[in-house]
């Protein structure tokens, strides 16, 4: 009897812990994801004084010629950069996964570099290459850089790594037996490509197209640097909100920005499920057959791609190390003197950026892992788990610009009027965060929530389900199993999540550009303003610093992973 009582006591205690954890995650997402988005939606249907105006704002928007123009601009550059980046990524990942290319790891890493740098770096490097005083311009290669050309080139490079990552996964799932069967029937290389390879990577290809489209559709960094007068939606929002303080019109543009992202999100979800169904346990991995001609062609292609990357980053590095391009080419490191950058706030901004990235990485990893654990390894709280799962993958569909916009509206309000209940207002308890680094940390956590969440979920799914059952049967509380078994086994995934949060938080600009204030400046936003003010060299130096830190973090991570792999 006594024992039974104890058992009940322990069970309930465990349940309380579980309940607190899952409700905390749901509450976190409700407050910092759903509420800001709701604020954004409400704002879009209100006028400046807060009165409900229906679709009036939208109508006004669609009547404005320049805004309509920016929609067509955005579509044009997004479609072009999608086509270019995915085509290049397709051949790049094809070469790396299906051809005998030497130093594959090297090529792959170089191809990934743009992930580690702010997109402004690509824009600035472009200016050094093709701008009015650019290297290629001086050599006689004149390109109308500022405007669509610049944006398309920068976005193509920016989208290239993510498209490559998706396609590499798609190419890795191949059944060699299909190729052998085709070979025995005397099938031409072209026909094998059309009937086996492309159908096999079809879903990966669709996914890459949509993700690249969303990236370039919503990016802020590159158009802000090389856009010139070519207005796109992401820069429009910024002008509306930060320039003209027209929050309501900003909300309208934000909602328009949401459409392709949500569509891409839905397509990605559907294709993901189909992709996993395409391979089965009986498949035999693809075996690369040596073929001198096509191998050489593939290697040449990889070299070209990496060369472009290397040129971009080498030019940026070079530009950051000289006095004044192109007039005074003497070597200097004064551009890296953070105390002199942006009238002294450079150092604070840099420090803040690191601090924000560190805190985001730690808190983000904890929250996403706990969330994933509670959703994956739990039998109770069915509804809460479903809500939590849905909310956890939603951020993938929200462009950074929209997150920044909704955050500014949500945190800026000192009180919320409750709809249909005039006279009642709710004090905003989060108003105090406005203007501090915490709003930036929260924005980053939400912005980059979904990918680490998926990483955690995948690694938890891979663990034996019986662990929990066994520990339950042994009357070991779940948190002990979590600490002793689950966490150590998921450690590689946790490191990966941490790195993802850190790397992205350090270079992101789309969300935080709305939120960084003079009291809490951050590096990526400072870069935008410095570049705008013509201080290109210090801006590019700052970009390089961020890139170096990210590369360093990544290398440390790779080293740790390599060592733990060896141990196994």
């Amino acid at each position: 009897m006594e024992k039974l009582k104890q058992k009940i006591m322990r069970c309930t205690k465990e349940d309380i812990v579980r309940a607190i954890a899952i409700y905390a995650v749901v509450a976190f997402l409700l407050v910092f994801l759903v509420c800001p988005l709701c604020t954004l939606f409400v704002k879009a249907f209100q006028n400046k004084d807060g009165a409900f105006v229906g679709f009036a704002q939208f109508i006004k928007y669609f009547q404005s010629k320049s805004l309509i123009q920016s929609i067509s601009h955005t579509f044009f550059v997004a479609i072009m950069s999608t086509i270019i980046s995915v085509t290049l990524a397709f051949f790049f990942s094809y070469a790396l996964s299906r051809k005998n290319v030497p130093c594959k790891g090297f090529f792959q890493y170089i191809g990934m570099i743009p992930i580690f740098a702010p997109t402004m770096l690509l824009g600035i490097a472009l200016i050094y290459l093709f701008g009015n005083k650019g290297i290629f311009t001086a050599l006689g290669l004149k390109v109308a850089l500022y405007g669509k050309v610049g944006i398309i080139i920068a976005e193509s490079i920016y989208c290239f790594p993510v498209a490559t990552t998706i396609l590499m996964v798609a190419f890795s799932a191949a059944d060699n037996r299909l190729y052998e069967a085709a070979d025995t029937m005397g099938t031409s290389t072209l026909r094998k490509m059309l009937t086996i390879t492309i159908p096999n990577v079809k879903y990966g290809l669709i996914s890459a197209l949509f993700v690249a489209f969303t990236y370039s559709f919503t990016d802020f960094g590159a158009p802000s640097v090389v856009g010139g007068n070519y207005n796109v939606l992401a820069t429009d929002v910024y002008k509306q909100v930060v320039g003209q303080q027209n929050f309501n019109m900003g909300a309208v543009v934000g909602i328009i920005l949401l459409f392709p992202a949500v569509l891409s999100f839905v397509v990605d979800r559907i294709t993901n499920q189909k992709q996993s169904a395409a391979i089965n346990s009986k498949s035999v991995p693809y075996q690369i057959k040596p073929d001198k001609k096509s191998d050489a062609l593939a290697t040449a292609f990889c070299i070209c791609i990496t060369l472009v990357m290397v040129i971009f980053f080498a030019v940026a590095l070079f530009a950051s190390l000289i006095k004044l391009w192109p007039y005074n080419l003497t070597f200097t490191i004064s551009n890296y003197d953070l105390t002199k950058i942006a009238s002294g706030s450079g150092f604070t901004a840099f420090k803040n950026s690191i601090l924000i990235s560190l805190i985001t990485a730690v808190l983000g990893t904890i929250v996403t892992f706990v969330g994933a654990y509670m959703i994956e390894k739990n039998q109770k709280f069915k509804t809460s788990r479903r809500i939590a799962y849905f909310l956890s993958i939603t951020p993938l569909a929200i462009p950074g610009t929209v997150i920044g916009l909704s955050f500014i509206m949500f945190f800026n309000a000192s009180q919320f009027n409750i709809p249909f209940m005039d006279g009642y207002a709710l004090q905003n308890p989060f108003h105090g965060m406005y203007g501090t680094i915490w709003i930036l940390i929260l924005a980053n956590m939400i912005h980059f929530y979904s990918v680490p969440f998926s990483t955690a979920t995948t690694s938890l799914k891979r663990l034996d389900k019986e662990f929990e059952t066994v520990s339950e049967s042994l009357a070991v509380p779940f948190y002990r199993t979590l600490g002793k078994v689950t966490l150590p086994l998921c450690l590689p995934a946790i490191c990966e999540m941490w790195v993802y949060f850190f790397v992205n938080s350090l270079v992101t600009v789309s969300a935080v550009v709305f939120l960084a204030s003079p009291t809490a400046p951050i590096a990526s936003v400072i870069i935008v303003s410095m570049e705008g003010a013509g201080q290109t060299a210090p801006a590019v130096a700052m970009c390089m610093l961020l890139l170096f830190i990210n590369l360093f973090v990544r290398l440390v991570y790779e080293a740790i992973r390599g060592r733990s792999n060896k141990k196994k």
Partner: protein, 340 residues
């Protein structure tokens, strides 16, 4: 048209692993040959060399006395079936079967006629428009067979075609494959690790182990007269009796003897030359019982034997554990091996 195949002194090495060690084989036109052996014995490698999917390090392969060792698979004119079916998942069953014909640039109506005939042959007329994922395993494998036959190949290669299927489907497909093979008179080589499959389907079995051929012969020859202990043990069940016990019980003069469980007679009455034994275990096996008996002769002479007793006899005799019985080992059924 059917062809004969000759494999002459073929060796294949994978990164220091010898997969085939100087293997030679002759396969007659129209013959159904099974390559049988445990996993890793080299049987699949041999099939892949015949197909041209891999190249041998040494030796040659001849089709109708023409050396094809360096020909690509497409120019050897054969059909192949894999364990994993390897149907193109994005193409319908019809398009899968027509795949090789389209490579040959045949006219559409000719293709249609031939594919229709093949679907009729595999009895799947209704499944033409379906995708592989909408077919059962057995149906997929039949489509794979039709695809292998579509280009009117000179010979057929089957790489464990039935091992991924359920027991019942497997047995019905065995018959199906044999029927079609005989109908077309097609030289066929099948790789399998399933002895029942080899015994029931093949005209000739080639037993392989550790990269070499252990024995070749008809199913009866392989079963009744295994040339070495490996073959005896790999195919069916067998009792091995070592040299000392052979002498002790006066069974034979050879180094090592063996006898299959169903060849041993079990009775309650003592006969000439029968041995006294005690029943240790009785295992129900459906249409027979496998009984473990212990023949004792002094202290060191204990000999454990497995005896298969047919169902009818089990019914009438009602053996019990612990009971003393007499076993008779007919001398003509004893197999003798020189090497241990």
């Amino acid at each position: 048209m059917s062809v004969n195949l000759r494999i002459s002194n073929v060796s294949k090495v994978f990164e220091k692993n010898i997969a085939l060690n100087n293997v030679s084989l002759d396969i007659q036109a129209g013959e159904f040959v099974c390559l049988l052996g445990p996993s890793g014995c080299g049987k699949s490698t041999l099939l892949r060399l015949i197909a041209g999917l891999d190249k041998p390090n040494e030796g040659s392969i001849y089709i109708n006395d023409r050396n094809v060792t360096n020909l690509p698979p497409a120019r050897r004119n054969f059909g192949i079936m894999f364990q994993s079916y390897a149907l193109f998942p994005n193409l319908t069953a019809y398009e899968n079967v027509a795949y090789g014909l389209r490579n040959k640039k045949m006219r559409n109506q000719d293709i249609e006629a031939r594919v229709d005939r093949l679907f009729h042959m595999i009895k799947l007329d209704s499944a033409k428009k379906r995708l592989p994922s909408q077919l059962s395993g057995g149906e997929q494998q039949r489509v794979a067979l039709a695809r292998a036959l579509a280009t009117e190949p000179d010979f057929l290669l089957l790489d464990e075609p039935l091992s991924a299927l359920d027991a019942k489907v497997r047995i019905s497909l065995r018959k199906e494959i044999c029927r079609i093979q005989k109908e077309l008179g097609l030289t066929t080589i099948m790789v399998t690790h399933d002895q029942d499959e080899a015994l029931t389907m093949a005209d000739r079995i080639i037993v392989m182990n550790k990269s070499v051929v252990m024995q070749e012969g008809t199913p009866e020859e392989i079963y009744e007269h295994p040339e070495n202990p490996f073959v005896a043990d790999f195919i069916g069940s067998i009792n091995f009796i070592d040299k000392e016990k052979c002498k002790l019980y006066g069974l034979c003069e050879q180094e090592r003897a063996a006898i299959r469980p169903e060849k041993i007679e079990l009775s309650r009455t003592e006969k000439e030359a029968s041995l006294r034994a005690q029943i240790k275990e009785i295992e129900f096996r459906g249409f027979y019982d496998r009984i473990t008996v212990c023949v004792s002769h002094g202290v060191q002479g204990d000999m454990i034997l497995l005896v298969d007793v047919p169902f009818r006899m089990v019914k009438t005799m009602q053996f019990r554990i612990g009971e003393v019985v007499y076993v008779n080992l007919p001398r003509e059924e004893l197999l003798g091996f020189k090497t241990a």
